[in-house]
Symmetry: C2
Subunit: 275 residues, 2 copies
C-alpha cells in the first residue's frame, strides 16, 4: 500500500501546524504516513506547485496555516479544484479571535518569532536553567523563580528545561546522602522550592536503564533498592525540614508535572520573568 | 472596557490549544484579553459549568480540543445554545486524518504524553544537551548527533535545547582565542559540526545587554568591537580549518536557525536518535 502523504504548508516555519498534527497523529494506530513540510510559502505559484504534487500522490491530504486570508482562500480553492482534501487550521481561529476583539488580524507571517521582549525572556530563562542545572552553582538558588530538589532520576533536568520554555527560571539541586545540599535552600522562601519524589520501583527501573546507557552493570548499588530507599529517606528529611511542596513524578509525563508546578506558582503568586 | 475572556478547554493538559492560540494571538494588536485554561475536562457536567461561566462573561470565546468526538459535539451544542462563539480546533483535523487513513481515531486523551520510546528519546536528548552544553565535557563531541561551535552569544545554548526537543543530541563548544578547542572537533566528520556566526554589530548589542544583566559595565572589552572582531576572526579560522557548515544567526530567531539545521541534517543524512 502506498504511504499516505501529509502535507504541512505554512507561510512561516510551520511549527504550529507541526505541533498540532503530530499531536493528532497519536490518535491513529498507523505509521503509514509521510510528513511533507513546506515552509515560507508566500506566493500563489508555490501553492499551485504543492497542490499539483499532492494531486500526483495516491493518498494525500493538505493541512495549512496561512495568516493571510487571501492565501488561505486561494489554497482552499486550489484544493477543491484538484479534488484533494485539506484542512485550514488557522482561519477559523483567526476569524474567531477577530470577532472577539473586533479587530482585523495583522496578517504578518512569522510575527510570533519576532525578537521581542517575551522571546528574549524565554531565551534567558533557558540559558539560566541550563547554567544552574544539577547544582552547578548555588548562586542560582537565590536568582531562580523555582528551585527543584530531588534524588537522581526524578526528572529535574527535563522539567527545568520545560519550565524554562514557559519563561520560568529554574535551578535544580541533586540530593544525595554523601553531600550536604547548599545552605541557601534552607534560607530562601520555602514556597519557591519543589521537592520531587519517585517511587522506589520506578527509580530502580530508570536507574538500571541509565546504567545500561552508561555501559555499566545494572547491579551497581546506584540502582539497588537499598541505596534507593536510603536516598529517598534522606531526601524526605530535607524536604520536611524545608517544608516545601512535594510532587510524586512516578508515572507522570514531564508536561504533567510542569503543569502542576505552573498552577502551584499561580496559586502561590510566584512571579516569572523576575530576576 | 471589559477584558475579553478566551477559554481554552481540553480533555488533556491543553498544551496543543495553548500553542495554537498563543501563536494566533500574535496576529492581533491587543493585550486586552485573559486566557482561562481548563484542563482534563472529562465530563459533560464540566462542559456545562464552563459554558455557564463563559455566558456570564461579557466577551468570551471558547476554543476546545477534545479527542472524543462525543465531547466535542456536546461542547458545540452547548456553545450554540448559550449563544457563545466557539472554535473546535481538533475535530476537523481528526476527521481529516481519519478520512486519509480510513481508520477510526483512538479517542484517548493524553495519549501524546504517554511514556513511550519517543518520549524517552526526547528526554534523553535534553539531558544530553544540557550535560554537554558550553564545552563542559569534550567526550560529548563523539556521542552527539550535532556539534555547535561559535563565539559567545551566537545562541549555542538555546539552539541546543530547541534541537534536543526535536530528538537531536547536541554538544556545544565555545570558541575564544585564549583557549584551544578540544581536539575532537578536528577528528570527527565535519558534517556533524555547525559553525555559528553573528554580525559584529549584533554581538556588540547582545553582549552589552549581557553585561548589564550580570551587573557589569557595558564598556568591558567583552562587548567591545576590537575584541569581537578578534574572536570572529579566530572562529572563522577554526571553522575553515574544519570545513564545516556555517550559519549566520544575526536577526534569526532560534526556531529559524534550528529549522535550517534540521533541514541540513536531512540532506546530509545525519540521523537523530542514535547514540
Amino acid at each position: 500500500m502506498d504511504l499516505n502523504a501529509i502535507y504541512l504548508v505554512s507561510d512561516s516555519i510551520g511549527e504550529t501546524a507541526d505541533v498540532v498534527i503530530r499531536s493528532a497523529l497519536f490518535q491513529f494506530e498507523t505509521e503509514n504516513y509521510q510528513l511533507k513540510k513546506y515552509s515560507y510559502v508566500q506566493t500563489t505559484e508555490e501553492i499551485d506547485e504543492i497542490c499539483a504534487k499532492a494531486a500526483d500522490d495516491d493518498h494525500a491530504m493538505i493541512f495549512y496555516t496561512f495568516v493571510k486570508k487571501e492565501m488561505a482562500d486561494y489554497m482552499k480553492d486550489r484544493i477543491e479544484k484538484a479534488g484533494l482534501i485539506g484542512v485550514d487550521i488557522y482561519s477559523p481561529i483567526l476569524t474567531g479571535l477577530g470577532q472577539l476583539f473586533q479587530l482585523p488580524a495583522k496578517e504578518k507571517p512569522g510575527i510570533n518569532r519576532q525578537l521581542n521582549a517575551d522571546y528574549f525572556n524565554r531565551v534567558e530563562a533557558i540559558e539560566f536553567s541550563v547554567k544552574y542545572d544539577d547544582g552547578r552553582d548555588p548562586r542560582g538558588i537565590e536568582k531562580a523563580d523555582i528551585i527543584l530538589i530531588g534524588v537522581s532520576r526524578t526528572s529535574k533536568t527535563p522539567l527545568s528545561i520545560y519550565l524554562a520554555n514557559k519563561n520560568v527560571k529554574v535551578a535544580n539541586i541533586p540530593l544525595f546522602p554523601e553531600s550536604k545540599p547548599p545552605k541557601e535552600i534552607f534560607s530562601i522562601a520555602p514556597e519557591r522550592i519543589i521537592g520531587l519524589v519517585n517511587s522506589p520501583k520506578k527509580l530502580n527501573e530508570v536507574r538500571k536503564e541509565r546504567l545500561k546507557t552508561l555501559g555499566l552493570p545494572p547491579s551497581a548499588s546506584y540502582a539497588g533498592m537499598e541505596r534507593i530507599l536510603e536516598e529517598l529517606e534522606y531526601a524526605d528529611q530535607i524536604m520536611k525540614q524545608i517544608g516545601c511542596e512535594i510532587i510524586d513524578v512516578s508515572n507522570k509525563a514531564i508536561e504533567e508535572t510542569a503543569d502542576h508546578i505552573l498552577h502551584y506558582m499561580d496559586v502561590m503568586n510566584i512571579n516569572r520573568k523576575q530576576l
